[in-house]
């Protein structure tokens, strides 16, 4: 049972990959990619958790009074959540350009256009 959170992260990642590969709409594919991103957050934070720990934020508790979880993985995840959102915006801008050029948002139709 000590690997359950990791398995959930792996499952979420695979689900996102499945959606990405079978997607019929590019915006849907971008949404699936953000599901894959979420899997990495779950995995990182699960690695940093400790039983009975609390957040290493000492504005309202005394340092050393309670065990704390790992701050390093949290810092990695925190920046990536926001940066990931702007990357999503970049991908959506690409989708808009593709639709402007080719008139369709279906990846399969795009392949047919290429010939």
């Amino acid at each position: 049972m000590t690997v359950f959170p990791y398995l959930v992260a792996a499952y979420v990642f695979l689900a996102g990959c499945y959606g990405l590969a079978t997607s019929r709409h590019l915006i849907h594919a971008v949404g699936c990619l953000s599901v894959c991103q979420a899997a990495t957050y779950v995995l990182l934070l699960a690695v940093g958790y400790r039983d009975g720990g609390t957040a290493p934020v000492f504005s309202d508790i005394e340092p050393g009074s309670r065990p704390v979880v790992d701050p390093v993985v949290q810092a990695l995840t925190l920046t990536d959540v926001v940066v990931g959102a702007t990357v999503t915006a970049l991908l959506l801008a690409l989708v808009i350009q593709v639709v402007k050029r080719h008139g369709t948002a279906d990846p399969d139709e795009l392949r047919e256009l290429r010939g």
Binding site: M1, T2, F4, P5, V8, Y11, V12, A15, G16, Y18, G19, S23, R24, H25, L26, I27, H28, V30, G31, C32, S34, V35, A38, A39, Y41, V42, L45, A46, G48, Y49, D51, G53, T54, A55, V57, V68, V69, Q74, A75, T77, L78, V81, V82, G84, A85, T88, A89, L92, V95, I96, V99, K100, G103, T104, A105, D106
Partner: protein, 100 residues
């Protein structure tokens, strides 16, 4: 791993991720993604990462849905013009593609 709260939120995240992938229409997917964001934020809080939870709430509750919906609105209008199907902004696409 004896905390039922962690198990419940992990299961919620897994279910929301499945739903977000299974829902094929971008507009409906944006709705599910915003609920997935909430589930993730709760999971992060439960894993004692309030900073990350705050990040997820800030991004997932309003910014990502707004970006997705604006992209759908832009793309849907164009796609409607070329394929000649009637349907209001964007939402027709998913259903149309399913029927194909």
């Amino acid at each position: 791993m004896d905390d039922p709260l962690i198990v419940v939120t992990l299961l919620l995240v897994a279910a929301a991720a499945t739903a977000a992938v299974a829902v094929r229409d971008p507009v409906r997917q944006a709705l599910v993604l915003s609920v997935l964001g909430l589930c993730l934020a709760v999971l992060f809080t439960v894993l004692q990462a309030p900073d990350v939870g705050l990040s997820q709430l800030a991004v997932g509750s309003a910014l990502t849905p707004l970006l997705l919906m604006l992209a759908v609105r832009r793309v849907g209008r164009r796609a409607k013009g070329t394929t000649g199907t009637t349907g209001t902004t964007g939402t027709g696409d998913g259903e149309r593609e399913k029927a194909r």
